[in-house]
């Protein structure tokens, strides 16, 4: 490999890492939010991603209500609207299932409800996978946009070397960053965001303040699902998916959340971004089937060297 094509490959891995990484980051925030606020380990988050993809698909293709927007704008509006739709789905899942094994109900029990949560969320995951199989079928889908096969070429000024920026991924990346920022502002500066953090920090004390902790937990679960669903809708524009697509991504989500520092909601974004980078760079030297292994090697290294995660911080008095 000559130096020119090496530079070109590295530059392309870098940009692909950033674009895909930001979308992964958004996807991870959803899971991080649920764990960070409610301390619920949600094994069905991959299926929530899958539901986001299908929600967007049904909104924008065929006779979908957003079909009039056309193939350029529609897929991205569909991805964003998948958020509120899956928020409602998540809130309902919480109301009827998750709330029975989490929150104030199980606070202080021997396992804080984690064992129940494991079984319930694994169950939801299986039901959604197999239910998806029945409802959607198994032929791979994609939310088609001409933008996914069109790229902006940026010359690097070294011979013929240039970077190709896939337009669909570029827009998806921008939507992901804006969504993540909006969530960050909500969590940091609004009354709802602060009450969510208070309910996460100390649910009993939050109750003393008059905060309805179970209501906020329901909101957190809905938001976590909605955020991951938006990421799913964005990914649906450039990859093909089916009812079992969640399995591939739940691993990435957990790596991202742990890398970012468990409990740090925005850290999950940086964790997801890191995973995106590792994945794209490993593609330079490793065969595709080893990419997930590369993610795990980096994951294990960081867990060994920095167990609080890359961006975790401690609020305890030193």
């Amino acid at each position: 490999m000559d130096i020119e094509s090496l530079i070109e490959n590295v530059a392309n891995a870098l940009t692909a890492g950033v674009t895909i990484g930001c979308i992964y980051g958004l996807m991870c925030i959803g899971l991080g939010l649920i764990f960070g606020i409610m301390k619920v380990v949600n094994f069905a988050q991959g299926e929530i991603l899958m539901l986001g993809m299908f929600a967007s698909l049904y909104l924008v293709t065929g006779g979908g209500v957003l079909a009039f927007l056309g193939p350029y704008v529609g897929p991205f509006v569909g991805a964003i609207l998948a958020g509120p739709i899956i928020f409602v789905v998540g809130a309902l899942i919480h109301k009827f299932l998750i709330s029975r094994v989490s929150g104030l109900k199980t606070a202080g029990s021997i396992d804080d409800g984690h064992f129940g949560q494991l079984i319930v969320t694994l169950g939801i995951s299986l039901i959604l996978q197999n239910g998806g199989m029945i409802v959607f079928g198994s032929t791979p889908f994609t939310v088609r946009t001409p933008l996914s096969s069109s790229a902006i070429e940026v010359g690097l000024g070294i011979g013929d070397a240039s970077v190709f920026l896939n337009k669909a991924k570029l827009i998806a990346c921008a939507v992901a960053i804006v969504t993540a920022l909006a969530l960050y502002m909500t969590m940091e500066f609004t009354r709802i965001g602060k009450a969510l953090r208070a309910a996460a920090d100390n649910p009993t004390a939050a109750t003393y303040m008059g905060i309805d902790v179970d209501k906020y937990y329901r909101m957190a679960f809905g938001m976590g699902c909605g955020i991951t669903a938006i990421a799913g809708g964005l990914m649906a524009t450039y990859l093909s998916f089916g009812p079992f697509v969640g399995f591939d991504y739940v691993i990435i989500m957990y790596s991202g959340v742990v890398l970012g520092g468990i409990g740090s909601i925005m850290g999950a974004f940086w964790g997801g971004l890191t995973v995106g980078f590792v994945q794209q760079f490993s593609a330079l030297i490793l065969p595709p089937q080893l990419q997930n292994a590369a993610i795990f090697i980096v994951f294990l290294l960081i867990v060994l060297l920095r167990p609080q995660g890359l961006f975790g911080r401690s609020a305890e008095r030193a």
């Binding site: 009450a195 009993t204 003393y208 303040m209 008095r317």
Partner: protein, 236 residues
């Protein structure tokens, strides 16, 4: 304003409170004393609603508290400064106070109460942007009390505010509590291990032992009681 009658509370099979009655009138300073494990914290938690009683009644300004959920009770103007402070460690000092002001009454009075909290505890102004978990124990207690004040309470319940604090810091805390009572006219219900100081501040005191209210009266009455003198005040 607060009327507790014949309250009994069990944890599983274990009786923590038996037939406890207690009254707090508006404007009063009432103290509950008693040894560790007597059920003082349980009493507070039952008033706040995080522990459910087996029997008895609690009313606040005539309203049946037991028919309300725990989070609804704070909105009536009951502030609970819990044992062990329980500040929101990952929130800043200012955010802790804002969460105290979560009920509508607290929001309406926010600018004025924040000013007042900063006058009482200037350190909370200095440390406004710092995460509460990084403060010292005394400062965290100030955050907890400030957070309680932020809801513009009609009743301020304090569960052992002196726990684990140096004597000098405890003195400050006691002084502030007295100020909150005298200057702001807030009704106080206090649980304390530092019996002598606590009773001296109060209009009325209750003695709770192993879940039973064994004695109550004003400072003079309690001081005249031999058991109180011996067990709690170390006098003869």
């Amino acid at each position: 304003m607060l009327e507790i009658s014949n309250l009994s509370v069990s944890y599983g099979g274990l009786r923590a409170l038996t037939d406890v009655s207690l009254t707090v009138a508006e404007g009063q300073f009432v103290t509950v004393v008693g040894p560790n494990g007597a059920g003082k914290t349980t009493l507070f938690k039952t008033i706040s609603g995080v522990v459910k009683p087996a029997s008895g009644s609690i009313t606040f300004f005539g309203k049946d508290l037991l028919s309300l959920s725990a989070s609804q009770r704070a909105h009536l103007g009951i502030a609970h400064v819990p044992e062990g402070r329980q500040v929101f460690k990952t929130l800043t000092v200012r955010e802790n106070l804002e969460m105290g002001a979560y009920p509508a009454a607290g929001q309406a009075a926010w600018a004025r109460t924040l000013d007042r909290i900063h006058t009482l505890f200037p350190i909370l102004h200095e440390r406004a942007g710092q995460m509460a978990g990084t403060l010292s124990g005394g400062e965290q207690q100030m955050v907890a009390i400030g957070r309680g004040l932020a809801c513009a309470p009609r009743l301020l319940m304090l569960d052992e505010p002196s726990m684990g604090l140096a004597p000098a810091v405890t003195d400050t805390i006691f002084e502030r509590v007295q100020q909150i009572h005298k200057e702001d006219g807030v009704t106080i219900l206090l649980v304390e291990q530092r019996v002598a100081e606590a009773l001296e501040l109060s209009d009325h005191g209750y003695v709770l032992e192993t879940g039973h209210m064994v004695l109550d009266g004003n400072y003079e009455t309690l001081l005249a009681d031999d058991r109180v003198r011996k067990s709690y005040l170390g006098l003869t």
